[in-house]
Symmetry: C2
Subunit: 140 residues, 2 copies
Amino acid sequence: MNINKYRNLGIKLTPQRLAVLDYLEGKKSHPSAEDIYQAVKKQFPTISIATVYNILETLKQNELIQELRTGPYKKRFDPNTSWHHHLLCTGCNRVEDVAIKKIPEIAAGEGQGFEISKVHVEFYGLCQKCRLKKNQEVKR
Amino acid sequence: MNINKYRNLGIKLTPQRLAVLDYLEGKKSHPSAEDIYQAVKKQFPTISIATVYNILETLKQNELIQELRTGPYKKRFDPNTSWHHHLLCTGCNRVEDVAIKKIPEIAAGEGQGFEISKVHVEFYGLCQKCRLKKNQEVKR
DNA sequence: TTGGATGCAAAAGATTTGCACTCCC
DNA sequence: GGGAGTGCAAATCTTTTGCATCCAA
C-alpha cells in the first residue's frame, strides 16, 4: 500500500479509508459492501459496516469507484471507474467486465429530453461454469 | 378487464392475479411491488404484499412481465416483455423505455465463455424536468 | 376434492440514521 | 481546535418465509 498515491484525492485519509482503497485496488470481482467489510475487518476488527458504507459513498462521490446496481439484491462496487460494461451470469451472479464493439446510441426521436451522461450495457447469460453444470443436470 | 384474454396463460386465474395483470396492462411507469400493492389494495383491501410478490414472481416465470434491477433499491416490473432498453433519471429515478439504433456486441475475444441470452442497455442521465430544476438551483 | 394460492405475521438481508466519541488536517 | 470520520445500536425498507386457511380447476 502506498499512502502517497492517495494523497491528492481530495478526501481526508483515515486508516479505514486506506484499508478500503487498498482492498479495492485492482479488484475485478465487484465486491459487495459486506465483502469489503469482512475483508477490512481482518485489519480493523472494530470497523463497522456503517463506516464501510460511508466510505464507499465518499469514494463514489469522488469518482474513485463505481457503484453497480445489477445482479440480485445488493450494491456492488467497482474500482474501475473507466468506461466499461458487464457480463452477468444468471446462474451464479458472477459479474465480469467486458468491452463492447460500439457504444450504443438512442434511436432517432427517442431521447425524450434526457441529457445522457453515462451508458451501461449488461449482457445477461450463463458463464462457462454454470453452463457445464446445467448440461450435467440435464444429462443426469 | 377481459378475463378471456388471460385464459390461456398457463396460470391459475385468481381475482388477485387478474387485478395485478389488469393494473400492469400497458403500464409504462415501471412500478415497484409497493406501487402495485397500493393500487390493487383499492380493489382488494385484504390483499397482502406477500401475495403481490408471489404473483409478480409467477408472472415473471411465465414471461408475462419483466423484472428490472435498475435504479435505486427496489425491483421494478415491466409488462413490456419485448426487447427494449431504458433511460434512467439520476435525479428522480424515473425509468423510461427507449429504443436503440443497434444492439451492442461484445468485442472480439471478450466473451469469456459466456452464453449471452439477453442484452440490456441503460442510459443514465437527467430527464427534462430534473434538468430544469437543476438549472434553477444554480441560478438561484 | 385437492394442490396451489392467499393472508398474516414474523424473519431476514441490506442499507441508513442518530449520536456520542475520536482523530486527521 | 474544529469539523469531518468512526463505531455502535436501533431503525428502516424491501423482500422472503412459514403456516393455516381458502378456493379455482
